[in-house]
């Protein structure tokens, strides 16, 4: 019981940790997806570039949108942004803070996908093998222009008959992979340095406003959770009262229409109380039928 209450309170007060957890899970899922999907470059001149760049950029967009969808705070932010002013002023700083925190979290999984793609190298090799300069590679320099395009397009496919032991293919492959990994590591370094600087330098700029924005964005989040919780509790009590009223009214109707010698007042046992005057198969059937055909009105005054 206490443990549940603790978990409950933890989630209530620490939605940031929950969001971080979801962000981490999405990143892991994106890496797992990359490793489990079988990448197969078409090795055709017109299709390579589209396929390679498509695999590099389309999944990150989908992952970004997923990150926005799964983040509870995006709903909170949208509600805060679109609500009528009423008695409570709207603070744009809070909305901006929420927006930036949502975007930061949503960008992690796509960045991870792009970095993993670049470090692996297959996408770049597939996309840019046709754009290589054939002069630099012995086997391709001697072929005709049309053939060169075909051959370069087949570089990503190691198992092709023509390419199996071709040293020029390996050279092109290595060259592109080297570029791809360099790009990958550079992007990773830039992102980490940017994150480091942002975190270190942020206290130097307008810390007070930041603290306020963070406090009120947490507040809006918690307020909404508690409102939902209160509505649940209220609907439970409402339903309870409604059902009790219903049983009462059934009992009164039964008493009114039958001259049964009910002496329930005297020495009523606890069970007789729970029976609420319904003591007969027909009465129970009647009650259940009434519950379906004529639900009581939503009024417990």
């Amino acid at each position: 019981m206490d443990r549940f209450r603790m978990i409950f309170q933890y989630f209530q007060s620490n939605s940031e940790s929950v969001m971080n957890g979801i962000c981490g899970l999405l990143t892991l899922a994106s890496i797992k997806m990359y490793t489990s999907i079988d990448f197969s470059c078409p090795c055709l001149p017109q299709y390579n570039m589209a396929y390679g760049l498509g695999i590099m950029f389309v999944p990150p967009i989908a992952l970004f949108l997923c990150g926005l969808i799964l983040n509870r705070q995006s709903l909170v932010m949208l509600e805060e942004w679109s609500r009528p002013q009423g008695h409570r002023k709207k603070d744009l700083a809070v909305i901006r803070y929420l927006c930036s925190s949502i975007m930061q979290r949503a960008m992690v999984a796509p960045a991870a996908w792009i970095i993993v793609t670049l470090l692996d190298g297959k996408c770049l090799i597939c996309a840019f093998s046709s754009s290589m300069d054939p002069e630099n590679f012995v086997d391709f320099a001697s072929a005709s222009p049309v053939q060169v395009q075909q051959l370069l397009a087949k570089v990503p496919c190691k198992d092709e008959e023509l390419m199996r032991n071709n040293t020029s293919r390996k050279a092109v492959s290595r060259y592109l992979r080297c570029w791809s990994q360099a790009l990958g590591w550079s992007i990773l370094l830039i992102l980490i340095v940017a994150a480091f600087l942002a975190r270190w330098l942020r206290p130097c700029f307008n810390q007070a406003a930041l603290l306020q924005a963070r406090h009120w964005s947490n507040y809006i989040d918690i307020e909404q959770k508690i409102f939902e919780e209160t509505c649940c509790e209220h609907s439970r009590l409402f339903a309870h009262k409604c059902i009790l009223h219903f049983f009462e009214s059934m009992r009164r109707e039964i008493e009114l229409h039958s001259f049964s010698l009910s002496r329930e007042g005297e020495g009523a046992e606890e069970d007789q109380g729970l029976l609420r005057g319904i003591t007969d198969q027909d009465q129970v059937n009647k009650l259940l039928k009434m519950w379906y055909y004529e639900k009581p009105p939503l009024d417990v005054s």
Partner: protein, 338 residues
């Protein structure tokens, strides 16, 4: 009871996390089913398309229906939809909300199945292998075959062991081509679905937030009310059964006393609770008679008030006739009035 209420409240108020969890589980289940399934392309011209598209489209439909079947709230929706109006108005917005939220959850497994199928590529390779552009990908110098023969050869592309058209078009080239198309379709599908979900989720607060809050509250209310009603009925049934059985034992005991024509021996004051609980049935024969009577002739579902003595002899039916016939006909009139 308190613990269940806490859990109930926790799930209700943290419904986002709960629903995300359920969605994740369904997505995983869908991927597992796909990987466990043994895909076997028939490699025959007319059957390939049917098989490939069948595997692509029929399981998602089944998973969608399963999503509805396994959802407990479907019966709640049906009940709310079909019930007569009575004293409580019906709100179509609430019904729409319930249906939409159920449909959204039921769509996850089919969407994941279609995505995984397309990204894997086997289905599209099987279904469309006869439509590969041989002119551009194949060997131009190969003597042309008739349409039928060409289709027969191309249909064997997915089955590497029996493929005999290597001179016409290399197997790897065709498979790579089809797989590339399949993966492109797959990623486009995933992007489309994610964008749709994003639009649905983000546009809703901008347009109908108040109506949404109302529908959500009342749909939760209907769910909670149904559960509480079931709970109250269960409690009532328990008490009913308890009193019914107690009255049965008392009736049996009183009848036995009357049959043997001696006064009920009042238990001494200090005999204790256990003796009272025996309800006057204190020997082997009596207990056997009680058990036989319980099996042969269960008491009617009609409890008489506790203070009323039932002095009639045991006729072997165990019926405690209490009410005079007039009120019974009043009850009958009551039903027909309604």
């Amino acid at each position: 009871m308190d613990k269940f209420r806490m859990i109930f409240q926790f799930f209700q108020s943290n419904q986002e996390s709960f629903m995300s969890g359920i969605c994740g589980i369904m997505a995983l289940a869908s991927t597992q089913i796909y990987s466990a399934f043994d895909f076997n392309c028939p490699c025959l011209p007319r059957y390939n398309l049917a098989y490939g598209l069948g595997i692509l489209l029929v399981p998602p439909f089944i998973l969608f229906l399963l999503g509805f079947v396994l959802n407990n709230n479907v019966s709640m929706l049906a009940e709310e939809w079909r019930r007569p109006q009575g004293q409580r108005g019906k709100d179509p917005a609430v019904l729409r909300y319930m249906f939409c939220s159920m449909a959204q959850r039921a769509m996850i497994a089919p969407v994941v199945w279609v995505s995984v199928t397309l990204l894997d590529g086997k289905c599209i390779t099987c279904a469309f292998c006869t439509l590969v552009p041989v002119e551009t990908l194949g060997n131009a110098s190969h003597p042309s075959l008739s349409q039928g023969d060409m289709k027969r050869v191309l249909a064997r592309i997915p089955c590497k062991e029996i493929y005999d058209g290597q001179e016409l078009i290399a197997n790897e080239v065709a498979v790579r081509y089809l797989r590339c198309i399949s993966q492109a379709l797959g990623w486009c599908f995933v992007l489309l679905m994610t964008m749709l979900a994003f639009l649905v989720r983000s546009l809703r607060p901008c347009f109908s937030q108040a109506a949404f809050l109302k529908s959500r509250y009342w749909s939760h209310y209907i769910d909670i009310e149904r559960k509480l009603f079931d709970e109250t009925c269960t409690e009532h049934a328990r008490s009913f059964a308890k009193v019914c059985i107690q009255q049965f034992f008392e009736g049996m005991s009183a009848d036995l006393v009357a049959a043997h024509c001696h006064l009920p021996r009042k238990a001494p004051e200090d005999a204790g609770e256990a003796t009272e609980k025996l309800l006057g049935i204190t020997d082997w024969d009596t207990m056997n008679m009680v058990l036989k009577s319980w099996h042969r002739c269960k008491p009617p579902l009609h409890l008489h008030p506790p203070a009323l003595p039932s002095g009639n002899g045991w006729t072997g039916e165990g019926q405690p006739p209490v009410h005079p016939p007039v009120p019974r006909s009043e009850m009958a009139a009551y039903y027909s009035w309604v």
